[in-house]
């Protein structure tokens, strides 16, 4: 496969040395060699290849070696479907940019053959690494739809994440990725919410909730030991959407639950999943697991977040080499238990607008929940409609894999969102429900850009509005 001009080349002039990186020089995470800065020079290409060899695992090697270029993956990818005449949008092309480096420089078989070749395939220079950055960060939402449709079982999303991780190690990342990684390294949460801000917001939410419910006993406990569960949040809930925390607190109170938030280690999101940085992934996940252990919680409950659920429930334990010692579950499963046990009374007629459900990629394809949110929605909504396709075959909200933080790729993201927009429009629903904060923003962008007559809500919103008090 030739290295032809990619649509990602439109971003080739993006600088490698960003202002954010220049300003980060003295930061603790930089000094401690956790957050990596870009250094101009020839060594980057060599280092890339060295890390490619070192980070190769058996599953990755199998995925890199097994592709037969059948092209079936193209029909699974919303980028390729939206740009059917552009081969550089196909998953196979994107993965091939990593694969050819692997074959040429890492795979002994490829190295053997490369001695016979005379041209091309040298050590990548910084411009080529920049180009690779734009492909792996800017033209793939790592939704894994292609993986599920590959007859060979090639995990293209894992290959993309491998490349992202190596580029992150070299500081060759989009500015947004750098900024969020910096915040999560420096503060323990990806939106840099300080402890005072966190405690004040929680207190404010508690006061509002008490006033709304007329019940002074409602609590949002912090650092309470020996609870049934420790609740973990997406920082977006503290910074932009405290209603989500209020809804959770209301439901937990009505269900008679004993729960707590930790003072530190409450962030269940993990930018390590998106940047491919396993060390950041391990650090953030460990904060969460250790907070639950410190508080002697009996389980960890993860608020509605796709990548947060995948990171905290699945990947985090592996990144942190931390054998799971407590059950962890999504709040959706907690809600399902309450409804099953009759701890919450709901009336579906309180939600009369037609509702459809958008499955988060990280939960449906890399997690384990498809039926649970539907089980709930069918009990709290009068008119539930499936979109097509749905479940494990659903299309990405287009904001996955950190793309929402990468403003430079937004025009392309919104262009290929036509697939999602068509899917949403066909349902005729007025509300699209999702169990992911990232999808809330991603879908919100799609709805606005394509002028759709619908709003995004989350499962907790609909459960709360269906409550019979």
């Amino acid at each position: 496969m030739s290295v032809e001009k990619s649509s990602a080349d439109a971003f080739r002039d993006l600088p490698l040395e960003t202002r954010s990186q220049q300003q980060a020089v003295g930061l603790k995470s930089v000094v401690n060699d956790r957050l990596k800065l870009y250094h101009r020079g020839e060594a980057n290409g060599k280092r890339f290849l060295e890390l490619l060899g070192r980070r190769l695992t058996r599953p990755l090697a199998a995925s890199l070696a097994a592709c037969v270029h059948c092209g079936l993956c193209a029909e699974a990818c919303h980028y390729a479907l939206a740009r059917p005449d552009d081969p550089t949008m196909t998953p196979v092309y994107k993965a091939e940019q990593v694969r050819r480096l692997f074959k040429r420089h890492v795979d002994w078989k490829g190295r053997l053959l490369s001695r016979l070749r005379t041209r091309g395939g040298g050590i990548p220079d910084d411009a080529e690494l920049n180009r690779l950055k734009n492909i792996v960060f800017g033209t793939c939402s790592a939704c894994r739809r292609c993986t599920f449709n590959c007859p060979m079982g090639v995990d293209t999303a894992a290959i993309i994440r491998l490349a992202r991780g190596i580029l992150t190690e070299l500081g060759i990342v989009p500015e947004g990725v750098f900024n969020v990684s910096r915040d999560q390294w420096e503060t323990g949460n990806q939106m840099a919410v300080g402890e005072t801000d966190f405690l004040e917001t929680v207190e404010w939410v508690q006061e509002e909730l008490r006033a709304e419910m007329g019940d002074a006993r409602i609590e949002i406990p912090i650092d309470r030991p020996d609870c049934d569960f420790m609740y973990s949040l997406n920082p977006r809930e503290i910074k932009f959407d405290p209603r989500s925390l209020a809804n959770a607190a209301k439901v937990f109170h009505l269900a008679g639950e004993t729960w707590t938030l930790p003072r530190f280690g409450w962030d269940q999101t993990n930018f390590g999943l998106f940047s491919g940085d396993d060390r950041l992934g391990a650090e953030v996940a460990r904060n969460l697991y250790q907070a639950a252990r410190r508080l002697r919680a009996r389980r960890i409950v993860i608020s509605e977040c796709g990548h947060g659920y995948r990171s905290s429930r699945w990947e985090g334990y592996n990144w942190a080499d931390y054998p799971q010692d407590l059950p962890s579950e999504s709040v959706i499963r907690t809600l399902q238990r309450y409804l099953r046990q009759g701890r919450l009374a709901v009336d579906a007629n309180k939600n009369l607008l037609p509702v459809t459900f958008h499955d988060s990629c990280n939960i449906a394809r890399s997690g384990d929940m498809v039926e649970e949110p539907r089980w709930i929605l069918k009990r709290v909504c009068a008119d539930f409609r499936e979109m097509h396709p749905h479940g494990r075959e659903n299309f990405c909200c287009t904001g996955g894999s950190g793309l929402l933080s990468m403003a430079e790729y937004r025009p392309l993201r919104l262009e290929v969102a036509q697939i999602k927009a068509g899917q949403l429009r066909a349902t005729g629903a007025k509300l699209v429900c999702t169990m992911c904060h990232n999808c809330v923003d991603g879908l919100g962008d799609v709805i606005k850009h394509y002028g759709l007559d619908m709003k995004v809500v989350q499962v907790l919103d609909l459960v709360t509005s269906a409550l019979v008090l």
Partner: protein, 220 residues
């Protein structure tokens, strides 16, 4: 049978096959030397069931959207690979069990199957040439491998009657090409079958463990 054809059917084939197996053994050693992280999480489903389901996807075209939407593509896949199996089997039957080809219906059956696979090979080659996107994501090996397999089918059809007394050249062409393929396969995409069990195993193990592709355990 000439001494050359005998040598080609036996010693050369065995040498080429040994070379292929040697390279495969080296590939497997390389693959097994790489680490494969163990899951640290509580299982939601069954890794074993996930692996079984993943490996069986070859026989369950309805399990993937891509093959569900293109049953013709799946049928081509089945015919093509049955043809490959038949042609490889023929390369062992002719030197080691030629009596099996004494019955005409067996020869005809093999020729029909391989002929159908040849047709699929030509369709695939044409598709790769004509479809701009597919052409542009293809490398030299994508075309060369397919071309070699098409020629392999063609020579297999001609060699199947095993009439070396009438003319040896169909057999020389078939075994010559077989030997060439055996040497070329480990370095080409034709060797994908070596990796197939691995990639599907890892896919199934992870997603089965997580309860994505395998039935979930009853949770409290």
């Amino acid at each position: 049978m000439s001494g050359f054809l005998h040598f080609l059917e036996n010693e050369i084939q065995l040498a080429a096959l040994s070379f292929l197996l040697l390279i495969y053994a080296m590939r497997l050693i390389w693959l097994f030397r790489l680490c494969s992280r163990r899951e640290k999480t509580y299982a939601a489903g069954s890794a074993a069931a996930g692996i079984a389901r993943s490996l069986l996807n070859i026989a369950t075209p309805w399990s993937m959207e891509s093959t569900r939407r293109h049953p013709g593509f799946y049928l081509q896949f089945v015919v093509f690979h049955l043809g490959v199996t038949a042609a490889i089997t023929l390369s062992f039957i002719i030197p080691y069990a030629p009596q099996l080809l004494e019955q005409r219906w067996r020869v005809r059956s093999l020729q029909t199957l391989i002929g159908a696979a040849l047709l699929v090979g030509l369709i695939r080659f044409g598709r790769r040439l004509v479809k701009a996107n597919l052409r542009r994501i293809s490398g030299i090996d994508d075309f060369l491998s397919l071309l070699l397999v098409i020629l392999f089918f063609l020579t297999a059809i001609m060699a199947a009657p095993n009439r070396f007394r009438q003319s040896e050249w169909p057999l020389v062409a078939f075994f010559g090409l077989t030997a060439l393929l055996l040497v070329y396969v480990p370095f080409s995409k034709i060797g994908h079958y070596l990796y197939y069990p691995f990639s599907r195993f890892f896919f199934g193990r992870q997603l089965g463990h997580r309860g994505v592709t395998a039935k979930k355990k009853n949770l409290p």
